[in-house]
Symmetry: C2
Subunit: 402 residues, 2 copies
């Protein structure tokens, strides 16, 4: 591990079994962990002002290197004072490497693919070449040929000025063979070295770099990858790639990966943010989570609720909410729940009013923030198990925390 508090420090303040509560410190402040991270994919948490994301209590957002590289471009963002200045966000930012998006194009898949759906890949023509040097692809915006490599990704993330950069990796999908996954994972490790070499020479002094553990669902490959990434001299470790076909396999792969990681580094689980998955991952020692689900659900009229049998979801676009005077979730402190009932919110969702997207985004992000905050409290009190059981039993995070 690198260890330079000018870039990043991580202090574990409490433990409960394998779970940890702590504080990550970056050049832009503190992030209390475990923490959920909202996506600011294209330089905004969709539909919300940066000011509001702060008011929700978030201390870290995730910007997307691939999208921002394609538009508006790294130079324009650098000229605005980096992504912080560009989007008017004064707290910490982590940027992904672009690898996930580029390889999603190549493998014909998106998030579902990585998470285990067994569709064959084969490319959509947008990726022209995957080679040791890097990846050539066509911009989805204008068809122009673009190139991403470990060095280019680091260069872009430097220009974005994020507090935490992620190394450029190949995110192997579930349908990849063991042999492909092994070769890809080894290349990801070589790419990590190139990222760190470039960053050592040219990266901004205040920017931390996280490596990404790959290896698919294969125990030996995950072990090799965890060792390689831990040994590489990174500031923190992210877990990427497919974690299996279902929640059971995902927890198995996570359960064998987490103990292989150094105890003193922050651990980021990429792309996972379902309520039950997050609590399970916190229990085995994951610190940080990013996921598109809460904001994507909001755009589709779905609110998070304390209902495990319904996968914690309430689909307000369905019929049947006429006259329902209940809040989305009783006791929720968000603006949607404080002022509006399901009758009105369901009407707005079905009428496809923008106001619905906004109110549900505020609700879902409040839910995830409260879920994380209550997990921190529970770990400090040594009763994470009871907290997780309360959530699994249908308690809302704000009630389960007390």
């Amino acid at each position: 591990m690198r260890s330079d508090p000018d870039r990043l420090s991580f202090e574990i303040t409490a433990r409960d079994g394998d779970a940890r509560a702590g504080v990550i410190r970056t050049a832009h402040g503190e992030i209390k962990t475990p923490a959920f991270i909202p996506l600011a994919t294209k330089g905004t948490v969709r539909g919300l002002e940066s000011r509001e994301v702060e008011e929700l209590g978030y201390e870290l957002v995730l910007g997307n290197t691939y999208h921002l590289f394609v538009s508006p471009g790294a130079e324009r963002i650098a000229a605005a004072g980096g992504l912080h200045g560009f989007m008017g966000w004064g707290r910490s930012i982590i940027t992904d490497s672009g690898g996930f998006q580029v390889f999603s194009l190549a493998h014909g898949g998106v998030a579902d693919e990585v998470k285990g759906s067994n569709r064959p890949g084969g490319g959509r023509g947008a990726v022209l070449e995957i080679a040791e040097q890097g990846v050539r692809f066509r911009s989805y915006r204008d068809g122009a040929e673009r190139f991403l490599s470990p060095e280019v990704s680091m260069q872009v993330q430097s220009a974005l000025g994020s507090d935490i950069a992620l190394a450029f990796d190949e995110c192997t999908p579930f349908h990849a063979s063991r042999d492909y996954t092994a070769r890809s994972t080894a290349r990801t490790h070589r790419w990590l070295e190139r990222c760190l070499d470039w960053h050592e020479r040219e990266g901004p002094a205040g920017q931390a770099v996280f490596g990404i553990v790959q290896g698919g669902v294969h125990e030996d490959l995950r072990r090799e990858s965890a060792q390689a990434v831990s040994a590489a001299g990174v500031d923190g470790i992210a877990i990427g790639g497919t974690l299996g076909r279902d929640k059971e396999q995902m927890r198995g792969v996570l359960g064998l990966t987490a103990p292989l990681l150094p105890l003193d580094a922050p651990r980021h689980l990429l792309g996972i943010g379902e309520v039950d998955d997050m609590l399970a991952a916190i229990a085995i020692g994951i610190d940080v989570f990013d996921c598109a689900v809460p904001t994507r659900l909001a755009r589709h009229g779905v609110a998070l609720v304390p209902d495990p049998a319904a996968r914690f979801r309430l689909d307000l676009r369905k019929a049947g909410f006429e006259g329902d005077r209940h809040a989305i979730a009783e006791g929720c402190p968000c603006p949607a729940c404080r002022r509006h009932d399901r009758d009105y919110l369901s009407y707005l969702c079905r009428a496809e009013e923008l106001t619905a997207v906004r109110l549900l985004a505020l609700h879902n992000l409040t839910y995830m923030e409260r879920l994380s905050a209550a997990a921190r409290t529970a770990i400090a009190a040594g009763n994470l198990g009871a907290y997780a059981e309360a959530i699994a039993g249908g308690e809302p995070p704000w009630a389960a925390a007390t």
Copy 2:
């Protein structure tokens, strides 16, 4: 005029030439005039929470009887405690009668048509019959046959529980012949009587009713209509229908109509809300304005700015804002201007991010609120003329007010 302070009162607090500043009082509070009114067409100001519309300083919003009648229906809104309860808005509400929308279907036109574009009408098949009794039309949602009449409109507006209901009228378009306009205007007067009769018997005690002056661009018809509506016993008077083919004709028609109205009643100019039009209308004694333009512009990436040569518009979807570090409008107190520059906002608009719609809606509504507030200040100080000149000279409302 009716005059029942339990329904509505109007107090004129200052005069400056023909212009007036005053206070309308309804069952839900005060509305300082001159006032711009945001549209909450379908039960929400698009993209904004009711709480935010309050915070912008607005005291009155306009709900749309036609849209709310078609969906979700008056019963559902009544069951939620009327439109106030349904949308969580504690201040005053005015509802239009549905006439404008129904006749837009019939005449093949929308707002542009009414405002003078000379396309022939002829119906889109959505209106089945216009008769003395009322209008039969097909719902745009499910094709079901629906019927609106003076009585039905009043009944729906009663169920919505608005503070101010508008009488059911035909909004005559510019392309209508003088003969058609004369017959239509006479029918509008008969419909007003039926509205008031129904409301007298069955309307809610606290609801005021405004009549609508029609008559197209014809001086004699406007005169007749102003007299008929004034004599009918209404709580306030709206000016509707086409005002001509251009701004000059509009101001001519308004200039001859306004002096025909009783001095002690509030005057609402329907559907007008361009910056220059609003100031011209305030000068001749109009008190209240509603208009879709500020929020519609926001959805299309256009911000209001103190630039008369550009019709007070800045199109942020255009190229050329890269690196532009200026706020949309320097000194503007809205969240978009306080925190973001044109570079970022233009990027968001071109990327079609929801956040752009929201930020521009907040900006444009802040602009209109400040324009109105400064007009009130200017009238009280007796210098409305200087204020209008400053705005016409490119001063922003917040600077011109001092």
